[in-house]
Symmetry: C2
Subunit: 252 residues, 2 copies
Amino acid sequence: MADTLAAGSLTFNPLYKEVKIRLTRGLAGGEWKPGDAIPSETRLAERFNVSIGTIRKAIDELVAERILLRQQGRGTFVATHTEDRTLFYFFHIVGKDGSRELPVTELLSFRKARASAVEEERLRLARGAPTFRIQNVLKLGGKPVVFDEITLPAELFPDLDELVFGGREGTIYGLYQARYAISVLRISERLSAAHPSARAASLLELAPDTCALVINRVAYTYDDTPVEYRLSWVNTERHEYLSDLWKNDGPK
Amino acid sequence: MADTLAAGSLTFNPLYKEVKIRLTRGLAGGEWKPGDAIPSETRLAERFNVSIGTIRKAIDELVAERILLRQQGRGTFVATHTEDRTLFYFFHIVGKDGSRELPVTELLSFRKARASAVEEERLRLARGAPTFRIQNVLKLGGKPVVFDEITLPAELFPDLDELVFGGREGTIYGLYQARYAISVLRISERLSAAHPSARAASLLELAPDTCALVINRVAYTYDDTPVEYRLSWVNTERHEYLSDLWKNDGPK
DNA sequence: TTCGATTTGTTCGTATGTATT
DNA sequence: TAATACATACGAACAAATCGA
């Protein structure tokens, strides 16, 4: 009785929307962690006192949003940032020849800083909130292609330091997820073109006065909470930014 | 009997996939035109000899791909390029202040030409196939922001000429759809940064040596057939390219 | 290897709610 | 008001994949 859905919800959402909200709440709250299987559809149907079809419809939407992952015969799993499938979803730089590979990230600098005006706005932070500011060079085929500056709200990444960041295994978003229970679910990017600074140009091995692609990224987790701001400079002599709208069927 | 699905399909797709294929075939073949309502779910269920749930699942996917549009109480409609919803889906330039408006397109030149090597490859054309090449300037807030060069396979646009193109009502993709029965369903864009040509710079009111954003777009219709190649130069002093992955819930 | 239990995938059918005309 | 259309929800049966005994 305590868990019956139909009652108690003051906003009159359809049942499957309520189920979706409750599942999302469980995911955001850590009841099921990345890589875990959530309970089977049968058990969820019992728990929420709805039919299995209603459960399926809720899960359908979470799968479409890449938050969950279904596998016939095995179960339904919380998506992780260690699956090939997910990796390319957040990395859009491809070779002009069509080649796709994951970058090797080299840490340049790690320091604490106060949020700038732009960062405050994008990350919805208080004035001068403490942040970490991390610079990287991303290499493809051994050559530098992207120069990154990442800004993180210090509050969300308690014990982060240069060693933790540099010593991680896997991707940066994998680190957020594994160590800080922060899952990046969505990113929004704004692109423009500009001359890179002298430092950026030299890091990217760009001749003086060459143009670079500028990417302003904000990464969001549950409830559209921003968790990372990232400014990237891309050498587009041999690479491009791919925006595919949309081949989202995913593999298999 | 003639229309029973389960039989006859040599590839063992699920029923709803077969239904989806047949619906797509009807759409591509012009049985239902943009803006038309397709038959009701009940009638489709009778016609294909499957349950209504199977029909719904097929339509679900076509709606997710923005090929169809459902409206409770009214019916299910073939998407058109005249709906506000659709318009911004293919136009990604936004003001840095967050403003979103549709551009005013001004025709600069219209001529016939042989496909270049790049165009042949992107449009899957034979060597030196005849094409139309159209240049435009797109204005936002009265100021030029984008300089376009569109390449179209002449074969697909039989009687196209400068008057038809310039005299259209609505958007360019609206013209393709209304006059040539070509619906753009998906685009793929590759972005880079470069110095614009002197002509492009002057059209975009860019100071010499300023950088511009370069967009390589290919537009596809049913069956992933490419129908348009477009090279755009963007003045990113006051505007940006927005890549939102993904807020695809759509309005309402 | 085989078998059985478990889990998701597909398909059917039915009933009722809600929006539109 | 009545008819029609899509939306939600339920339940049942079987198929297909997975995994461990």
